[in-house]
Symmetry: C2
Subunit: 277 residues, 2 copies
């Protein structure tokens, strides 16, 4: 028992697919045939309440049950979607000391909870692949990268530009929508990596206006831009690339632009541990 | 000359259609056959720079030329789209005393400039129909409502719930994306009317999380919800109506929900003068 690593899977946003869960379980059993790694899906991952994997109370309770349970070594977000901002404050208020020692891994909508945990002082919070990435082309590589970090904190899957400065990574929309709220961590002096998916360029421009206009964000060490994929059509053509947009707003606001980041909504999404490496 | 009212039309966001401009001019000439009302389109309305009606410098200059020109009595926004947040600070820094006495009318993306003018202490700023509304079904009614306010400050087109408390109105996304920036006015004690178009319900929910999470917004007198039109599909069904979403976040944040508002992206969009009525 003692040598088994238990990873709890939670779905604080949209509901998860049972079929993908079963495939993931088979993959983990095949990779760890001795049974020394167990991935356990909380039943609430498959619940259904409108847009969400269960209502707010159920999703918060499910997260806290696994976070506060000493039998689990790590919590892994099943997928993004939408909904974790709704339960972030309830989760924060219910966390017990047992939750602090665990690793937490996810991205996209999960960013609202990563921010909350980081703001609360948790030391092992990271932006990186989720269970749903198993469904991507070459998704097994993303899954194994995630498992290696969840099981033993492996640094092999780390985003390569990490340089010792405290760093965080977020989906641009998620960061844009949490600044000024109770779950915004103090990002002074941090390298802030951003990535985006399925947004129009004019929206990305508007979010950068908003983000770089925040007094809090003007204290960061700088932005790094990950991949911006599946950009939705702009009529007429916007006229700037995502990098040009980010560079423009950085220049205008006096925030350093630090270059690219190897993160995004794809199987190559590397792991970014929050805080100093 | 002295009795002629001159309304300058500006396009600080996306470019405007020459054909609609010509139709609007004909409508105004027919309604005011004596020539005592002139609607003058700034040539920059028809300029073209990627997404925008000219680049940022041209759009800011065009706005300031008309705002600072004593021959114009009012400035009317041609249309929304995207782009006025990009030039709001340049406009603010270039405004002269001549600009203060004029009336300003628009909505949607123009909200970034309405906010800027209101924050700067302008007394005649209003949320209401734009030239582009002429293209809507029954758009002529919206145009005449706008003209009556632009020409003589008529109150007949005012939003009916105005009750003497200071009030503002914004597109939800525009307000969401200006809080915390240099153009956010102090809305303490204000009734804040919001409306939305072409957004998914989960985005509306997320924006309400963000907005109602702001310390500044928690000081408003309350929200009123206008029309939310052309909601984009949500898969699965979100499970809450726009009013239920706004009521939820108001309840959660302690901000009063004050009821509906007769505003929206439609021909019925009533006029909301910023500040106390």
């Amino acid at each position: 028992m003692g040598s088994v690593t238990r990873i709890g899977v939670v779905a604080p946003s949209s509901r998860f697919s049972k079929a993908t869960a079963a495939r993931l379980e088979a993959h983990v059993e095949a990779r760890f045939p001795g049974g020394d790694v167990k991935v356990v899906f909380h039943p609430a991952c498959f619940a259904n309440h409108g847009h969400f994997a269960g209502d707010d109370a159920l999703r918060a309770r499910a997260f806290l049950e696994m976070a506060n349970d000493p039998r689990y070594d790590a919590l892994w977000f099943a997928r993004g979607g939408y909904g974790s901002c709704r339960i972030a404050e309830a989760v924060r208020d219910g966390l017990k000391p047992e939750a602090r020692t665990k690793r937490y891994l996810g991205y996209s909508d999960a960013g609202s909870l990563l921010a909350t945990l980081y703001k609360t002082g948790f030391a092992h919070v990271a932006h990186g692949p989720m269970v749903a990435d198993f469904g991507r082309r070459e998704g097994a590589e993303a899954i194994d990268r995630a498992l290696d970090w969840l099981i033993k904190g492996a640094t092999t899957g780390y985003e390569p530009s990490l340089d010792g400065r405290p760093t965080v990574a977020f989906n641009l929309t998620i960061l844009d929508q949490l600044v000024g709220t109770a779950i915004e961590p103090d990002l002074s002096g941090h390298v802030v990596m951003i990535e985006e998916v399925s947004e129009a360029l004019y929206r990305i421009d508007r979010m950068m206006f908003h983000l770089t206009g925040q007094a809090s964000i003007r204290r960061i060490a700088g932005f790094r831009l990950g991949r911006v994929s599946d950009i939705t059509p702009n009529e007429p053509e916007f006229g700037l690339t995502p990098e040009e947009i980010v560079r423009y707003w950085c220049l205008r606001s006096g925030i350093p632009y630090l270059g690219g980041a190897d993160i995004g909504h794809d199987a190559d999404n590397k792991i970014v541990p929050f805080g100093p490496r």
